[in-house]
Amino acid sequence: MADKNQTGIGKLEKSDIKKVYLRNLFTIQFGWNYEKMQGLGYAYVIMPVLKRLYSGDPEKMKRALKMHLGYFNTTPAMSHLIVGADMALEEELGIEAEEAITGLKTGLMGPFAGVGDTLFIAIYRAIVFSIASYIAMQGNPVGLIIPLIACAGVLWIRYKFTCIGYQSGRKLATGFADKISPITEAASILGLTVVGALIPSVIKYRTDLQFTMGEVTFALQDMLDKIMPSLLPLAIVGFSYWLLGKKKVDSTKLIFVLIGLGMILGNLQSMLTFVVGIF
């Protein structure tokens, strides 16, 4: 590595990696469509590499363009590892490694999506946006800084992913899913603890239902509180969790169920009064 602008092997330069990183950051989903999903975006992201390697050879450029316009879909944050490894392969072996490159892209996008959706979407949101919302709910907009700070961290991680993917090429990329599993487990533990804590702190529903028996009035909520605080919110979450386990229930249907439940729970007292009034 005599020249620090060189990446090590010679054909690609450091500025190419930066260009690919920035394109990956912003544009991989611009052309998202139901046929090739991120395929169009991937071709755009890797284009600085293709230009560097094949712009003198129209036939190679055609092959490369067709290959990279193929189906691709993974968690955007994880795509950097794949793109990085792809850069290394293509720099080293050229378009002749077409099968290896396609194999690498196709083989990694699925597992990486599994890990990435959990880490960068589910857990990330559970932690970052729940805390931000919690602060916002107290009437303080200052919590909105938290997602922005966290995002800066993610941008840094995504840059590192590009470099890691590139430097280690295929070897590390295939073993990556194993190495990351304890981290995924630890992150799940953190995520689940926060979800457990969110239920009583966010779902503040309390029933106002009261029974009058002669001189004495029983408030249902007081009785429930003696069993366990936040029993109703927990029950509603448990019910939602159970419903989501049903094959035919997705989040959109669950919204309708919960709105219906809200309609009933919100008017329970007047419904009761109405029923009692009949007798």
Binding site: F26, N33, E35, M61, F129, I131, L192, A197, M263
Partner: protein
């Protein structure tokens, strides 16, 4: 009741454009209902309403994400319009939450339409590739941004411009019991976000940690905050990592020949 001034409408449209770009790129958070409602509230001069609408919607939709490119309700547009309607009608935050959800559901179709439109650019790029025209492929991907932006900006612009008439009409029709129900629904809807997350996280394997988090706040809510629970969760996660590392270290010592590269 006064309508929304033209300047505010333009501001909200510009914000929508930025938020859509954020949603399909770095996702720093501008696309979330939290930011959408807070910024709408600030622009309309009622930040507290924006904060409550945004926080509630955000918590409710925590687990709702476009895994694998699935379409989810458009809570970004829903949050902007819900918050705007709540403020200009003076009906309060719960009303905004109640409106944001059906609006978001209604606009789900716009997302599907946008994603379908992009097939056109994919085909254009495929044709360019046949000729080795890499500039055409680049152009196709950049043009793909248009359907994304338009699918959100058009409903928001229409909704804000004709919002006053819509809100007046809605207020005249909706009965009191429905509003009460909607408010209760707003209170229990965050259960959906929690339930989806529980489906997505390995709760069957790690349920004890879920119980710990719940008990901390349910019984200790007066002294504990979510941040405290998150710190305990972090400590538990760190303990887990240490245990795994020790186990690996022991296992490595047991087996003398360890092939790492295979």
């Amino acid at each position: 009741m006064q309508g929304v001034s033209l300047l505010v409408v333009i501001g909200l449209i510009l914000y929508t454009v930025i938020a859509v770009v954020d949603q399909i790129s770095i996702q720093c958070g501008l696309y979330t209902p939290l930011f959408a409602a807070v910024i709408t509230g600030a622009l309309l001069g009622d930040l507290p309403t924006g904060l409550i609408v945004g926080a509630t919607l955000q918590l409710m939709t925590l687990g709702v994400a476009t895994y694998g490119g699935a379409t989810v309700p458009d809570y970004l547009s829903g949050a902007i319009m819900g918050t705007a309607y709540a403020i200009i009608s003076g009906q309060g935050a719960e009303y905004g939450i109640g409106l944001a959800i059906p609006i978001g559901l209604l606009l789900t179709q716009m997302d599907i339409l946008g994603r379908m439109t992009n097939s056109f650019f994919q085909h254009y790029a495929d044709r360019c590739a046949e000729n080795g025209d890499y500039k055409g492929v680049e152009r196709a991907n950049l043009l793909g941004l248009l359907p994304w932006v338009l699918s959100r900006v058009i409903p928001v612009a229409l909704g804000l411009c004709f919002g006053e008439a819509v809100v007046n009409g809605v207020n005249a029709i909706i009965p009191a019991w429905f509003m009460t129900g909607l408010k209760t629904a707003g209170a229990i809807l965050p259960a959906m976000g929690m339930a989806i997350l529980m489906r997505y996280l390995p709760i069957k394997k790690y349920y004890p940690y879920f119980i710990i988090g719940f008990v901390l706040i349910a019984f200790g809510g007066a002294t504990f905050t979510v941040m405290a629970a998150a710190l305990i969760g972090f400590a538990l996660a760190a303990l887990h990592l240490t245990r795994v590392r020790d186990r690996v270290a022991v296992a490595t010592m047991d087996e003398e020949e360890v092939e790492i590269d295979g």
